[in-house]
């Protein structure tokens, strides 16, 4: 892989596939900005990927392949057969996405989130969300898929969890998309987007809305010194945590809700 990363062409494909870390992705984006030929090649690859996904129906992985992947995960994580990883972040980085895929396969096979049981109480959810944010900041690797292209992040998440995640481009509003990751809250895999503003980051998690849950209107709190903003929208609960000043987190929340509404309506973004 290291030799491959010296090859500019392979590096471009790795960027397309969300295989680079945040630093590598930033380097590629700088190269694309400076080199029109590379940018054109990247655009061709994006177009090909989108065309393939749009025109060729997805089929479930064959049973033999699924069994092989499950076997590898169990061997590398030292877990007993049929055990689902409790916290993906505790596994080694190379096997995180593999374990996530395994978990998704089980989710999809069961046909519903119900397999995982109810979400934990509000307080525990907030604690898990903030802990995920802190872990991402401390590790320097806040995302599992590092790209500012929402058309890469969204399908990556869709390949890991059931249901579509709202991913919007907020770069014009000053919040650049860094990428996405899967957090685990209680026993539920939760898609989390990471945006950047100056030196600050915002981690936005999308959770199933509680029946008796939070009000739709945004509500801001402070937890462990971090700002937490949550709101319900279109049947989903959103929780944003950041080291940004609270007022700027409010701006982020408003920008996200507006962009999400525009995307839902299918109207072109202004």
């Amino acid at each position: 892989m290291n030799d491959a990363l010296d090859n500019p062409t392979l590096l471009l494909h790795a960027a397309l596939d969300g295989e680079l870390d945040a630093v590598g992705m930033m380097e590629i984006e700088a190269k694309l900005a400076a080199d029109p030929d590379q940018a054109a090649e990247y655009a061709r690859l994006v177009a090909l990927r989108d065309a393939v996904r749009a025109r060729i129906p997805r089929e479930p992985a064959p049973d033999a392949l699924r069994a092989r992947v499950i076997s590898v995960v169990q061997k590398t994580s030292g877990q007993a057969p049929q055990t689902v990883p409790r916290r993906l972040k505790l596994l080694g980085a190379p096997y995180r996405s593999l374990a996530a895929s395994l978990m998704v396969g089980i989710v999809l096979g069961a046909g519903a989130f119900g397999l995982f049981g109810p979400m934990p109480a509000d307080d525990d959810v907030q604690q898990a969300i903030v802990a995920g944010f802190i872990r991402g900041r401390l590790s320097g690797q806040p995302v599992d898929v590092a790209t500012s292209d929402r058309h890469t992040v969204k399908p990556w998440l869709a390949g890991k969890i059931s249901g579509a995640t709202t991913v919007v481009d907020l770069a014009p509003e000053g919040f650049a998309l860094v990428g996405g990751r899967i957090d685990v809250v209680g026993r539920t895999p939760v898609p989390t987007l990471v945006y950047q503003r100056r030196e600050h980051q915002i981690a936005l998690s999308e959770l199933p809305e509680r029946r008796n849950g939070a009000l739709g209107a945004p509500r801001r709190e402070t937890r462990d010194g971090y700002s937490l903003l949550h709101w319900a929208d279109n049947g989903r609960l959103y929780m944003a945590v950041s080291d940004l000043p609270p007022a700027e987190l409010d701006v982020f929340g408003a920008a996200f809700r507006q962009a999400a509404a525009v995307e839902r309506e299918g109207a072109p973004k202004q």
Binding site: A4, R44, V69, Y95
Partner: protein, 42 residues
């Protein structure tokens, strides 16, 4: 496996029993061929 099943390079390498670098080069070659063929048909 990459574009339709969403497997990572490491997952594909495990499944086909090849090094990750080989997976990367094969994927790049396959995409290049596909782009050329589609380009010729356009």
């Amino acid at each position: 496996m990459r574009d339709l099943n969403g497997l990572s390079y490491r997952e594909i390498a495990t499944a086909v029993g090849a090094p990750v670098g080989t997976v990367m080069s094969r994927l790049a070659r396959a995409r290049g061929l596909l782009i050329n063929r589609l380009g010729n048909r356009a």
